[in-house]
């Protein structure tokens, strides 16, 4: 029924009415073009060339231009265009390279007017000048563009694209003399119609052929191009260099692109292959099309907006031999079907989850999740008239939080900072790390380090008594560690600080929320309002009673902890409000992010006791007795590392990996190692432990990791002569054509370390300068300065 809806638009006197409809053609269409009066459309193809009148209910065939007894290749059209000034004038481009003009005013049946046979290959595109009545432009496979004056028998001027095939030519709507042409090699050229000798500007727009381009009807500088690389790009040509302002990624090569009238950021595209739909994109939202027309059963070959000032009617012709009129109102909107969702782990194991309001609403209605401690907050953005998706921007955000005591990651930070990973002997490293772990109350880990020492260092050095002692400690260590969970004391350092941060965040968002006068849908099940200064203890106490319910919902913790410990877990759900819900596409990006190891996971791991601690001891005794080679244990150690990593304590896994180095590396496959490294580095960076993370990167042996430090380090160099940035290579300036950093001693270019005197700014290779200064204290360049290099 929706299809039957009718739209009536008043456009300065003339009124457009119609509905979504289609009609069957006899043959596949290659191109369509609309008459100025918006009431007729011409369809052209290999074996069709007809004019249809667009009536309210249907298309009516008005005229068949394909007359004559024998079908001629001149009538096999690759493109057709209707003059926007003269209702009687049409031009077609034939596949055999002929450009034909048609005059509907001719009295005879054959309306063919003029024939230009100047192109040697297929003509891909013809284009009339928007204001000049007699100027026609053509672009051909033979690499030439020709400009015809219809009052003359041959072309006025020829523009050469240097033997690259021309795919599209378009006169600029605003600049009288300018036209753009696109090429098979990915270039776009801008020409002045008066200067056929060379193009005004050229730039590479796409990778592979550029099939189409379209000038923005209002914005003088904007040109949209579509290419085989599945991209639609919008270029700002008004600036000195063509600048890419928008880029839309489609799913198939782009055959046509047309700006939507009266909608500054909208454009319609259709594809050359595979995909049959016509899309209308908002270039500012390049991931989800604003509208989609799905009528065609084969590729769409031609699209045209019916009227230059009416955004609601789109016409399209297709290889499936149909001509369609699409109504914007009837378009399907993929955004409606998309479910914007976002999920993110916080540093302390908090989980934020945002979803479309409607989804959350239905779900919370389900009773099995009654224990759900989520507090959905609904709010809407202030409506922005330019933003068509305002209705979709409302979403609910939930945050699940972990109990603060367990959420404290101070042990992680401390461990990371105090561990020694290199620079000493293995035994010392192990001892040191064991000590660190013990001091932090992580006896389990300390035990492991001691073990490693026993395995890999000479066994006699560790007295057995010492060992037994630590075992005794280790076996009892589980409890105090557990207890720390129950304690209400928030870890002094990090924990409280972040808590404060969060409160602050709340206040801020609250106020902003008020400012933006957004509608806040009150949330029933959370009565207490949150202030910025709610005491931590109070919050904890308040929440305590309900947290096992929360944990049931949070699978990560529920499974690993609930069955083993009856200790009450604490959680602290906190309501968070964000003012500006990120739109759909950003959610998608979030999702695509690499999985993060959250602090809480790591934390959970350290809780699990190793049952085998006693058996390990017996092994170490055996070792003392029989002097087994360290290799004997490598499988065991690997298992141990995997165990830690699986429990989430990548810190331990990576640290051991680094400390043991070659001894175990070969037994664990490269990918796993890489995975551990990246997880650990990610965690370190989230805690702002840049130094430690850098050290880890440096010590890692995996190539993928160690190159992390080499990536994204850019040095910008300015030329010492012209003071301009040097773009292409670091040592040769493009402008002054000379080498920038010459060594004052050997007069060669310095490509590595460059040392220079801050007084006279002469310098050179480090070695050369050092050598020079041994013999002289004057500047090697001869400037007379007494140089100082420190």
């Amino acid at each position: 029924m929706e299809k039957m809806s009718r739209v009536t638009t008043a456009l300065g006197g003339s009124v457009l009415t119609g509905r979504t409809m289609h009609c069957h053609l006899d043959a596949p269409a290659n191109a369509i073009s609309v008459c100025r009066d918006a009431a007729q459309v011409v369809v052209a193809g290999r074996s069709i060339f007809k004019i249809y009148a667009i009536e309210e209910e249907q298309f009516v065939e008005k005229l068949n231009l394909r007359v004559g007894r024998k079908p001629s290749l001149n009538l096999s059209c690759a493109d057709v265009v209707w003059h926007q000034m003269d209702e009687n004038l049409l031009a077609t481009a034939a596949t055999n390279g002929v450009v034909v003009t048609w005059n509907l005013g001719r009295p005879s049946r054959n309306k063919q007017d003029q024939l230009f046979t100047e192109h040697k290959r297929t003509v891909n595109k013809v284009c009339f000048h928007p204001t000049e009545a007699h100027v026609l432009l053509s672009g051909s496979q033979d690499g030439f563009m020709k400009c015809f004056d219809l009052r003359r028998k041959d072309s006025v001027s020829t523009f050469s694209g240097q033997s690259e095939s021309v795919r599209d030519v378009q006169f600029s709507i605003r600049d009288y003399f300018t036209f753009a042409s696109t090429f098979e090699n990915g270039n776009v050229q801008l020409w002045d119609i008066r200067r056929p000798d060379r193009c005004e500007r050229m730039f590479t727009a796409h990778n592979g052929p550029v099939f189409c381009c379209d000038w923005h009807p209002e914005d003088r500088g904007w040109l949209a191009t579509g290419g085989r690389d599945k991209m639609v790009k919008v270029w700002d040509m008004a600036t000195h260099r063509a600048k890419e302002v928008h880029c839309v990624q489609t799913i198939a090569s782009v055959a046509r692109v047309k700006w939507r009238p009266e909608c500054r950021h909208h454009l319609a595209t259709c594809s050359m292959m595979v995909d049959h739909n016509v899309y209308v994109w908002d270039v500012r939202r390049p991931f989800v099309p604003a509208a989609m027309f799905e009528e065609h059963r084969d590729v769409t070959t031609g699209i045209a907006w019916r009227h230059p000032h009416d955004p609601s009617f789109l016409l399209s012709g297709s290889k499936d031999s149909t001509l369609c009129q699409h109504l914007f109102r009837d378009a399907s909107q993929p955004v409606e079907r998309a479910n914007p969702e976002g999920l993110c782990y916080g540093l302390f194991g908090d989980l934020a989850f945002a979803a479309k309001e409607s989804l959350v609403a239905t779900e919370s209605g389900r009773k099995p999740y009654a224990g759900d401690r989520r507090h959905p907050i609904f709010f809407k953005r202030k409506l922005d008239p330019a933003e068509p998706f305002a209705g979709l921007a409302s979403s609910a955000l939930n945050i699940f939080e972990i109990e603060p005591g367990s959420g404290s990651m101070s042990w992680f930070v401390d461990t990371a900072e105090r561990y020694a990973l290199a620079g000493r002997s293995l035994a010392e490293l192990c001892d040191h790390n064991a000590k660190v772990a013990r001091e932090l109350g992580r006896n389990q880990v300390a035990q492991t380090w001691t073990m490693l020492r026993i395995i890999y260092c000479s066994p006699g050095l560790v007295p057995t008594t010492n060992l037994n002692h630590s075992v005794g400690k280790g076996s009892s260590c589980g409890l105090p560690l557990m207890n720390s969970f129950n304690l209400k004391d928030v870890a002094p350092g990090l924990g409280s600080e972040t808590r404060l941060d969060r409160s602050k965040g709340d206040t801020r968002s609250d106020t902003v929320l008020l400012d933006s006068s957004a509608t806040l849908v009150p949330n029933e099940d959370n009565e207490e309002t949150e202030g910025s200064d709610v005491p931590t203890d109070y919050l904890l106490g308040e929440v305590e009673g309900e947290d096992d319910e929360l944990y049931l919902l949070d699978p990560e913790h529920a499974h690993s902890e609930e069955p083993e410990y009856v200790l009450p877990q604490e959680a602290f759900p906190l309501r968070h409000e964000i003012v500006d819900t990120p739109p759909g596409p950003e959610h998608l990006q979030d999702k695509a992010d690499s999985p993060h190891v959250s602090g809480s996971e790591a934390d959970a791991a350290s809780l699990v006791p190793v049952d085998s601690s006693f058996s390990l001891i017996s092994v170490s005794h055996a070792l003392c007795d029989s002097r087994l080679p360290p290799d004997f244990f490598s499988a065991l150690v690997c298992d141990m590392l995997r165990f830690y990593a699986e429990q989430g304590d990548v810190q331990m896994a990576v640290s051991v990996l680094i400390v043991l180095g070659e001894r175990v590396r070969k037994d664990i496959d490269e990918q796993t190692q890489e995975h551990w490294y990246t997880s650990y580095i990610d965690l370190l960076q989230r805690f702002c432990l840049w130094n430690v993370s850098n050290q880890v990167v440096k010590l890692s042996t995996s190539r993928a990791i160690s190159c992390l430090n080499q990536a994204s380090t850019t040095l910008h160099v300015n030329c010492s002569h012209c003071k301009r940035p040097m773009s292409s290579r670091g040592w040769v300036c493009d402008r002054c054509r000379r080498c920038a950093s010459m060594c004052a001693v050997c007069h060669h270019v310095v490509k590595g370390l460059f040392v220079w005197c801050q007084g006279c700014s002469h310098g050179g290779h480090l070695q050369h300068i050092m050598k020079w200064l041994e013999g002289s204290s004057h500047c090697p360049a001869g400037c007379g300065h007494l140089c100082e290099y420190s």
Binding site: K70, L73, G97, V274, V299
Partner: protein, 551 residues
């Protein structure tokens, strides 16, 4: 002695690091020394039947090793390896063991060895190409050595082939080689079959499959039909063929796999054309590439027999090939003159539409009569036949027996717009690689023709390209097919048609009789055009069918 110790590892030789190569070679040398010692011991002890058998086996193994070394001494791009392997061979010879020597006359039977670039005398660019190729395949095959006439193309070719066979793709590695074997076997190209049988086994393929297509999995058997049609009459491919492959329950192909397979098939069909078109000799280390006999004994060339088409076909000469020798001098001049004329008169005289249409038909029809020899089936050489299921199915001229197949219009489905997008969608990056290869092949020119310089050959190249597509029923709306008749003389057409449609029938006579004044590198250039045009034609038909299936 454990067999594992004697396992020869050749891959170390492919390294770019000279010390790695050094150790690898030393390792090989030791193995060979051990083996020869072993052999000598056996020889010295009195004859016992059981020993005789093992003796023969180990001798066979040693000979294989020696043949491989011989190949290395001639074809390895690294000088140190060449010298060392030659040294090893010499030292083995001094121990009184027969060493092999290469047979034949260099990489190609058609092109004199001295015309072809010698390994070791290449320039820096070619050396990197060689080294890349050697690193990827562990050999420098004869095709590479002939193609290196055109290094720019070779680079793209090797890159594509490497990607198709060894890089990410939907098909498992042994499938890829097996499909290569299937495709080459359609044209009885024993050279390619031999190469890929080795590779197939190397990547862990089941040797049983090599006994015939019926021993391969059902899935590959299903591909046989497409292979057959694609090789000989691609215009008959319909979406039903595609559907049959994609909907075969547990044996069905996925679209991505199918595109990979299609690209491989077309690649190897056209490579078979190149192999025959340039008369590629068997590899030195393969059967028929070397002999252990002393020079005086072997007067005949095994490779001619294995390919079964040299000495015999020499007799039944193409009548068309008999152009008087005196004419040959003027051939080039005449061709240049015609090109010039065409360029000029095109402006004046425009043929009518009907005329143009009929010219295409004429050219199409005429291409049928180009063959002088009748369609008698050559008995397939050697064991290649096992891959055939239907030998009687060969090239039949487009629109011959009154069967009407609609002309394929390039303007409606072309590689640049449609084929590329489809391939790149289903088999990412390959579309780009093939596209580059087509581009390079089509645009390659040195602006020379025989002894003339600064000639615009685009017209000639286009005529060749379009003539091949014309034979497959592909028509360009914007091309005047009259040009073909003007530019391509009969002996050239015979050659083109034979190489493209029935490559196994190419003879040296054919190769020699066209364009007699032209250089060998130019003839190889022609071959590149032929194989790329053929590959594109086959791809177009196959991809169009896939597109039709998808819509």
């Amino acid at each position: 002695m454990a067999e594992g110790e004697n396992e020869v590892r050749w891959d170390g030789l492919c390294s770019r690091d000279s010390t790695t190569r050094e150790t690898a070679l030393e390792n090989i040398r030791q193995i060979i020394v051990r083996k020869t010692e072993c052999l000598r011991l056996v020889k010295e002890t009195p004859y016992r039947p059981a020993d005789g058998l093992s003796n023969a086996v180990s001798l066979d193994g040693l000979n294989k090793l020696l043949a491989h070394l011989l190949m290395l001494s001639k074809r390895c791009p690294f000088k140190d390896v060449r010298e060392k392997s030659e040294f090893i061979l010499k030292s083995v010879q001094e121990l009184g063991i027969r060493i092999p020597r290469p047979l034949g006359h260099g990489p190609s039977r058609f092109i004199p060895e001295k015309e072809i670039l010698q390994v070791g005398s290449e320039d820096a660019q070619m050396h990197t190409l060689f080294a890349d190729s050697f690193a990827a395949l562990g050999r420098l095959d004869n095709i590479t050595l002939v193609m290196v006439f055109h290094p720019q193309y070779l680079e793209s070719f090797l890159k594509t082939q490497h990607y198709l066979l060894q890089m990410d793709g939907p098909l498992p590695l042994h499938y890829r080689h097996y499909i290569g074997i299937m495709a080459a076997a359609r044209h009885q190209c024993s050279y390619l079959v031999n190469l890929h049988v080795n590779d197939f086994l190397h990547v862990g393929g089941d040797p049983k499959w090599l006994n015939g297509l019926e021993n391969a999995p059902q899935k590959l058997q299903n591909l046989g039909e497409l292979n057959k049609v694609l090789a000989h009459r691609p215009w008959l491919i319909t979406k039903e063929h595609i559907e049959g492959l994609l909907k075969a329950e547990e044996h069905s192909w996925s679209l991505a796999e199918l595109v990979h397979a299609v690209v491989l098939l077309t690649h190897y069909h056209s490579l078979a054309s190149f192999t025959f078109g340039c008369g590629i000799s068997p590899e030195i280390h393969c059967d028929g590439g070397h002999t252990f006999r002393p020079p005086s004994v072997s007067n005949y060339c095994i490779c001619d027999i294995t390919n079964g088409n040299h000495s015999v076909d020499e007799m039944q000469v193409n009548s068309a090939g008999n152009v008087a020798v005196s004419d040959s001098f003027f051939e080039v001049e005449a061709l240049m003159e015609k090109m010039k004329q065409l360029q000029e008169c095109r402006e004046e005289e425009e043929a009518s539409q009907e005329e143009m249409a009929s010219r295409f038909e004429i050219e199409k029809r005429e291409s049928m009569f180009v063959f002088s020899s009748d369609d008698d089936e050559v008995t397939p050489a050697r064991d290649v036949s096992r891959h055939f299921e239907d030998t009687s199915y060969g090239y039949k001229d487009f629109s011959r027996h009154g069967m009407h197949v609609p002309t394929f219009r390039v303007q409606d489905y072309c590689w640049e717009d449609h084929g590329y997008s489809l391939v790149n969608r289903l088999y990412p990056d390959v579309g780009q690689l093939i596209d580059e290869k087509f581009h390079i092949a089509y645009n390659l020119t040195y602006n020379t023709m025989a002894m003339h310089k600064d000639v615009d050959t685009s017209m000639l190249r286009r005529a060749i390209w379009n003539y091949i597509h014309c034979m497959f029923g592909i028509r360009y709306d914007d091309y005047d097919y009259g040009e073909i008749n003007q530019l391509l003389d009969r002996s050239f057409k015979v050659y083109i048609k034979t190489v493209v449609c029935t490559p196994e029938k190419v003879t040296k006579r054919m190769y020699d009789s066209f364009w007699r004044q032209f250089k060998h590198s130019e003839k190889v250039h022609v071959n590149l055009l032929l194989i790329e045009a053929r590959m594109q034609a086959e791809l177009l038909y196959a991809l169009r069918a896939i597109t039709r299936y998808m819509t």
